[in-house]
């Protein structure tokens, strides 16, 4: 455990209130739509009603005639500037505005710019587009059929297959499947869902023709990467591009990609010569921006009769939509899905994934998830329950028999990862104790006799976060390090700028606490700034729970550099040698001479007023942190549900979440993150799905159909922690923001299936909506 600083300093482990909330709760945040510039005009997107259609004509005359309309930009216009297509984040390209044909409903077709947003919206209605409908491909299982329409005629490969990817030992795994006495198979579909952040995507783009500077306020989780993409795509000099991510109202991966609206607004600003604002509507956000999941998965476990698992085989079909716009590290077409062996010590594993195109919105973003970890955790935790059912073994006991034991860390997984640290048994034991597992099982047995439906679901997940080490991890070639630049002012206050970007995670508080821990400067005295590429050091941004593992580490190491310089100044001030000094948070003292000390504030002042000759003045440091490995947070979640036989409604009676994210910076923020992630997991498990009908019409493109949980639907979450520090992280932290979303869907589904297992139910696909449960109950003759 880390030494705890005083509450005044507020270093790591103190539940100090979030500094940023002061402005948020007063309505004084500065979000993208708050940005107002003189002469600003507004853009509105014309979108395709068809999932697959040839564009035969676009008539813009009527729209242009409407008073107040300044421009209507089409794909043909962009093509002249070679901007009709742009690269996606993953080895593909996507249309900015459609040329030739459209590939998904709601695809961007034209961009209207007007003096105000109402005129722009009206004018968009006047843009006439003639379409010739083409055969639609909705079902990914049919993507590789010989009679399937080829969606991407722009590609050389005349096929809808984007990639086939495999990892592990196929032959050895298959051998185990054949020879093991027991096998268990589960086919689980993780539906297409959407992060639906409170604030939709948007931008304000301003081009100053006198200076040649393009300033772009963008809802971006990765402002530096966006700047570089802008420079490469538009050919503008990078020093003339400034990307600013102001306050962001939730990202969850949705704000990692570059969207056509940003590019169109930039083109419009350059052509019209006035700042252009573009803000998505809610439906536009749900229907066209980065979705998540949409994985059709199969897992098979081979085990001994006592439940000891020998091998795991996974086969997955990934629906990527019309363009492969997955936000994933370059070398990982299925992200970190190969963490699918989970918390278990299997000797063999094999995993293969096929990615295909369909006539759906592009994406495959990491929704509160470190690149497909959610899919992987869900699959293995579901598969373990199916095996337990097969063996008539308690699911907690089956897990216990297969956990990687603490002494095996660092653990090399059969699919190639090196797990840093873990104590899975510890988290499971604490969770079962908190929930009162044995009593609940007794209660369940009694209720079954009375015909009542109650279930208990366990999920002992492992995450893999903090991407990542430069030898393996990059996005578009940019290595996934991150950074911190710390500057201590003469009065001992400080500012630190980061390569990451908070979207609500509380960075302004937690990063300040890291500095407080390392330097003893009170967290209240450390300002944190992020999101302005003109001032912040280069970094890859915030997603995949990477901020604490990367920028957090950089913050600690920058602070340690400052501390080393402070030691020199202290030695000078105290007229002793550096070796004679000892450090405690906030001051250097002379060993064996009580009272002879200098505070960090005194030292900071001296750094500008009285520094030793030959020493560089000032007190600042910058650190770019290239992590040696990923971090592996974990936990066990237990859900208890009751099912109403008459309506099929599932009530989550209790939910215990035990997380282990290593050393904690701010326990209150961790708890808040866990609450938020569990609520999103609840929504995914029970309420949400973006589905498409056979013509490619989006079902679930509004909040009428895509449901967001409120306090009414949300149970009271019970949380707890174990602490297994990461051995390679500078202060032993692992990252936590995504764990609850990664670990909870399996707990919910396992609980519902457990409630119905005596009826022969082995699996139900999410969302577990009442109608679906009710149908099963009807089939099984449990209800009329």
């Amino acid at each position: 455990m880390l030494a705890k600083t005083s509450p005044e300093i507020g270093g790591m482990g103190h539940p100090i209130k979030r500094k940023e909330d002061l402005r948020f709760i007063q309505g004084k945040g500065n979000y993208i739509d708050d940005v107002q510039l003189p002469g600003m005009v507004y853009g509105h997107m014309v979108r395709s009603p068809y999932a697959h259609a040839r564009i035969t004509a676009i008539r813009t005359e009527e729209a242009k005639k409407l008073p107040g309309v300044l421009a209507v930009i089409t794909g043909e216009d962009l093509a002249k500037a070679n901007l009709a297509w742009m690269p996606t984040l993953f080895h593909d390209k996507q249309m900015v505005l459609a040329t030739g044909k459209v590939l998904f409903q709601s695809q961007e077709v034209a961009f209207v710019v007007a003096e105000d947003r109402y005129t722009a919206a009206d004018a968009a209605e006047l843009v006439e587009v003639d379409y010739e409908e083409l055969p639609v491909l909705v079902d990914p299982h049919k993507a590789q059929d010989t009679d399937a329409p080829i969606l991407r005629d722009d590609r050389e490969e005349k096929s809808n297959l984007i990639f086939h990817w495999e990892v592990g030992d196929r032959a050895a795994t298959e051998q185990q499947m054949k020879s093991a006495p027991v096998t268990a198979l589960v086919k689980a579909f993780f539906p297409r869902c959407h992060p639906a952040p409170l604030e939709t995507c948007g931008c304000v783009i301003d081009f100053n023709s006198a200076t040649g500077k393009l300033t772009a306020w963008i809802t971006s989780q990765a402002p530096h990467a966006h700047r570089t993409v802008f420079a490469l795509v538009a050919g503008l000099p990078e020093q003339n591009i400034r990307v600013i991510s102001p306050d962001i109202g939730g990202g969850f991966g949705n704000k990692v990609p570059v969207y056509p609206g940003y590019v169109c607004a930039a083109v419009a600003a350059l052509t019209i010569g006035r700042p252009v604002k573009w803000i998505e509507t809610r439906s536009e956000n749900l229907q066209s921006t980065g979705f998540a999941r949409d994985y059709h998965m199969e897992a098979e476990l081979a085990a001994d009769k006592d439940g000891r698992v020998r091998a795991l085989r996974v086969k997955t079909l990934a629906d990527h939509g019309a363009f492969n716009a997955a936000a994933q590290p370059t070398k990982f077409p299925a992200g970190l899905f190969s963490i699918c062996t989970g918390s278990y010590d299997f000797s063999q594993a094999f995993c293969e994934v096929d990615g295909v195109y369909t006539n759906k919105a592009p994406g495959g973003i990491a929704y509160r998830c470190s690149f497909r970890v959610t899919e992987a955790a869900y699959l293995i935790e579901r598969a373990m329950d199916v095996l337990a059912q097969e063996l008539k073994l308690d699911p907690a006991e089956l897990r216990r028999r297969n956990f990687i034991p603490p002494e095996k860390f660092p653990y090399p997984s059969p699919l190639g990862w090196s797990y840093d640290s873990g104590n899975y048994q510890g988290a499971l034991d604490l969770a079962l104790e908190k929930i009162g597992y044995n009593e609940l099982r007794k209660e369940q047995a009694e209720k079954r006799k009375r015909g009542e439906l109650m279930g208990i679901g366990i999920s002992s997940f492992t995450e893999i976060v903090g991407a990542g080490p430069s030898h393996t991890f990059d996005i578009l070639g940019l290595k996934m390090f991150d950074s911190a630049e710390l500057r201590v002012h003469p009065t001992g206050k400080a500012i630190m700028r980061m390569g990451t970007k908070s979207q609500g995670q509380g960075h302004e508080t937690t990063y300040a606490q890291i500095v407080a821990q390392e330097l003893g400067i009170p967290a209240a005295d450390v300002a944190i700034e992020e999101g302005d590429t003109d001032t912040a050091p280069y970094g890859l941004g915030t997603y995949a729970s990477r901020s604490t593992p990367t920028s957090g580490a950089a913050a600690a190491l920058a602070a340690r550099k400052v501390r080393e310089k402070a030691r020199k100044i202290a030695a000078h001030l105290l007229e002793v040698s550096e070796e004679d000094l000892e450090w405690e948070p906030g001051k250097f003292s002379v060993k064996g001479a009580p009272g002879k000390s200098k505070t960090i504030q005194e030292i900071a002042f001296a750094a500008y007023t009285n520094f030793p000759q030959g020493l560089e003045p000032g007190l600042e440091a910058v650190h770019y942190y290239d992590p040696p490995n990923l971090t592996f947070p974990f936990g066990t979640y237990v859900a208890v549900v009751d099912i109403d036989k008459g309506t099929g409604e599932v009530k989550v009676r209790r939910f215990v979440a035990v997380d282990d994210c290593g050393n904690i910076i701010n326990p209150m923020i961790v708890e808040g993150q866990v609450h938020g992630g569990l609520t999103e997991g609840l929504a995914i498990a029970f309420m949400q799905e973006i589905s498409y009908d056979e013509s490619g019409n989006i079902q679930g493109g509004t909040f009428m159909d895509y449901l967001v949980p409120t306090a009414v639907e949300t149970p009271s979450w019970e949380t707890g922690n174990t602490c297994t520090p990461s051995p390679h992280h500078p202060f032993g932290a692992k990252g936590v923001g995504e764990s609850p979303n990664v670990g909870s869907p399996a707990a919910f589904v396992n609980a519902v299936v457990d409630a119905l297992s005596h009826l022969g139910v082995k699996h139900i696909d999410m969302p577990l909506a009442p109608w679906k449960i009710w149908q099963i109950l009807k089939e099984k003759g449990v209800t009329q």
């Binding site: 009603p49 209605e125 843009v127 056979e694 013509s695 079902q699 493109g701």
Partner: protein
């Protein structure tokens, strides 16, 4: 989104009278709320528009209707229609068969089966909503047809038929969709 709608209603007028209207696409169109025939391409093919208003969304389908089969003997008609919204909100196509049966009372029964495929913004409203829109349109259609039959019987033909060909209204659709939810309980 494909939906199948089967509807029937009874009229006091004899089958022959009803057939007169139902076998003439122009008369049929005049009874469809929001519909208008703009051009006769040939005896069996017509161009026209149909306006559907749903919430803030107004869809102006412009297209063609064609009489595939006209069976005077059995009083059966089969029509196919296809239209695209003029502002690019999507398309709708329909295959409709209509049949008129004589009733022992001297009146008649009209039976229609329509298969509708809706693509675009309207289809996003989901089949529940579209089904209700169809129900409402059919109700309005029946009302208009009855009115027209009465006019025909009272010799007022030539007055141009019912005046009410307004598009289906939004609010009422939403309300009846909600009501429809509660009505559709299985009667077992």
């Amino acid at each position: 989104m494909a939906i199948k709608i089967e509807k029937s209603f009874q009229a006091p007028e004899p089958a022959a009278e009803v057939w007169k209207i139902l076998s003439d696409p122009r008369s049929v169109a005049s009874c469809v709320p929001g519909a208008q025939i703009t051009e006769a391409v040939d005896e069996r093919t017509y161009r026209g528009v149909i306006k559907v208003k749903l919430g803030p969304t107004v869809t102006d389908y412009k297209g063609e209707a064609h009489v595939e089969r006209l069976d005077e003997q059995n009083r059966e008609i089969e029509m196919i229609g296809k239209g695209q919204d003029v502002r690019g909100k999507g398309s709708a196509s329909m295959k409709m068969t209509g049949q008129i049966r004589e009733l022992p009372t001297g009146g008649s029964e009209v039976i229609t089966i329509s298969e509708v495929i809706v693509v675009g913004i309207l289809a996003q409203m989901g089949s529940r909503m579209i089904q209700e829109v169809a129900n409402l349109m059919f109700e309005q259609f029946t009302k208009n047809l009855r009115q027209r039959l009465q006019q025909q019987a009272s010799g007022a033909a030539g007055s141009g038929g019912p005046e009410e060909v307004k598009p289906i209204d939004a609010g009422s659709v939403a309300a009846s969709a909600v009501l429809g939810l509660f009505k559709s309980k299985p009667k077992e």
